[in-house]
């Protein structure tokens, strides 16, 4: 008996560890399972090549008295043609706000304008940009990340689809999280902590209960972003 005591200790540690893991897995909200299932269910949409991406109408050469925006207020969510990044744009009264994210390492908030049916957005550091056209149903164009450019397509979405921003103090560190919820329920997001160079995985967001996000015990305040919000610091 005495000889096997250390092995029993080892067994007890393994059993406790696996037990806690099982409790965690069992208690996991549907949040993380649902997007995975949705992603599996709707691969067709992602692989569909972005319809004729209208060449981003050559830069705002000389903006002759801004045209009234073609769409007053709407949110769009979609992906680049090769599924490199998820793109969301919200417009309101001629202003546009966007979030570009691949769920792994690329993540940027953008702001810009809507003139007629043309949108142009860029991030605070200018490394990420979105340019294209939109109508009531969809937005098409090009998304540029650190010099690489991909065509994208984004469908108009209703809530709970759209852009979400979360803010909170995690371990005493200011943390900002961005999520894109696509029309089919897929959620893509990343978190960024003050002072940390690389973004971290975002906690799961249940778009139907956005006020229940908690990271390491710290409550996260989640807000729906529309085209009128300020998302790029100056």
């Amino acid at each position: 008996m005495k000889r096997y005591a250390p092995l029993l200790t080892l067994l007890a540690v393994a059993v406790l560890g696996l037990g806690l893991l099982a409790v965690n897995v069992a208690g996991e909200p549907d949040g993380s399972a649902a997007p995975a299932a949705a992603a599996a269910a709707a691969p067709a949409e992602t692989t569909a090549p972005a319809p004729p991406a209208p060449a981003p109408t050559t830069e705002p050469a000389a903006p002759p008295a801004p045209e009234p925006p073609a769409v007053a207020e709407k949110a769009y969510a979609g992906r680049s043609s090769g599924d490199e990044v998820t793109v969301a744009v919200a417009v309101k009264d001629g202003r546009a706000v966007g979030y570009v994210c691949d769920g792994e390492e690329i993540e940027a908030w953008l702001e810009g304008t809507v003139e007629g049916d043309t949108i142009a957005l860029r991030s605070g550091d200018g490394e990420v940009g979105v340019a294209g056209n939109l109508d009531e149903d969809a937005a098409f164009g090009d998304v540029t990340v650190n010099g690489q450019s991909w065509p994208f397509s984004a469908k108009a979405v209703q809530e709970p689809g759209g852009l979400y921003e979360g803010r909170g103090d995690v371990r005493g560190v200011a943390t900002r999280i961005g999520w894109i919820v696509e029309g089919d329920g897929r959620v893509t997001g990343l978190a960024r902590s003050a002072g940390s160079a690389a973004p971290q995985p975002a906690p799961p967001l249940d778009p139907n209960a956005p006020d229940r996000v908690v990271v390491d015990g710290a409550p996260i305040t989640v807000t729906t972003i529309d085209g009128g919000d300020v998302v790029v610091g100056r």
Partner: protein, 194 residues
């Protein structure tokens, strides 16, 4: 000198090759545990959150305090082991209860680390976004591997005498490094919060 009478022939102490083999097996198990934890932590999708432990302001505070308790018990481990090996200054003869103290403080210490490690692995995974986090991830995997090796070595009488203090020392070093890269950092940035 040769012995012909099987009764008087000295009993050959089973050491050497089988002891080395036992040590190799124990080390292999430890490596398997470490690599297994690391691979799981790296490959599965971190959830960012997990079941919280009641009574603390945040999951992280709970982890920091549990890890600190484990570290305190690890110091008990170090001292009691030194006493058992007659290496503690001023203590000539190990008291009879020291073995029990060593065993039970060790069991409690490692069991206390388990909820912490499960949270790390399940909610955060093996991460490398800063040196502290990378060191912590590596040490976490290393610690449980070293612990598994130690549990096998301590129950195997054939293992060479130096093996136990060396593996025990590695377990202690691992836990100390884990505590420095997590709890101490947490108390340093967030203060002593419960």
């Amino acid at each position: 000198m040769s012995y012909s009478d099987p009764v008087t022939e000295p009993i050959r102490v089973v050491r050497g090759s089988s002891g080395t083999a036992m040590l190799l097996v124990a080390t292999a198990v430890g490596i398997a545990v470490s690599v297994g934890l690391g691979v799981y932590g790296r490959l599965h999708e971190p959830t960012g959150s997990a079941i919280n432990i009641a009574g603390f302001s945040s999951g992280l505070a709970a982890k920091a305090w549990l890890a600190s308790l484990a570290f305190l018990l690890a110091i008990v481990q170090l001292v009691s082991a030194m006493v058992m090996y007659g290496r503690f200054p001023g203590v000539r003869r190990a008291p009879s209860w020291i073995g029990g103290l060593h065993r039970w403080s060790g069991r409690v210490a490692v069991l206390v680390t388990v909820p912490v490690a499960v949270h790390c692995l399940y909610a955060l995974g093996f991460a490398d976004y800063e040196p502290r986090v990378l060191a912590h991830s590596i040490l976490g995997c290393f610690f449980y591997g070293a612990f598994a090796t130690k549990m096998i070595v301590v129950g195997a009488r054939q293992a060479p005498g130096w093996a136990l203090p060396v593996v025990g020392g590695l377990v202690f070093t691992g836990l100390t490094g884990l505590w420095l890269t997590s709890s101490l950092w947490f108390f340093g940035t967030s203060g002593f919060v419960f």
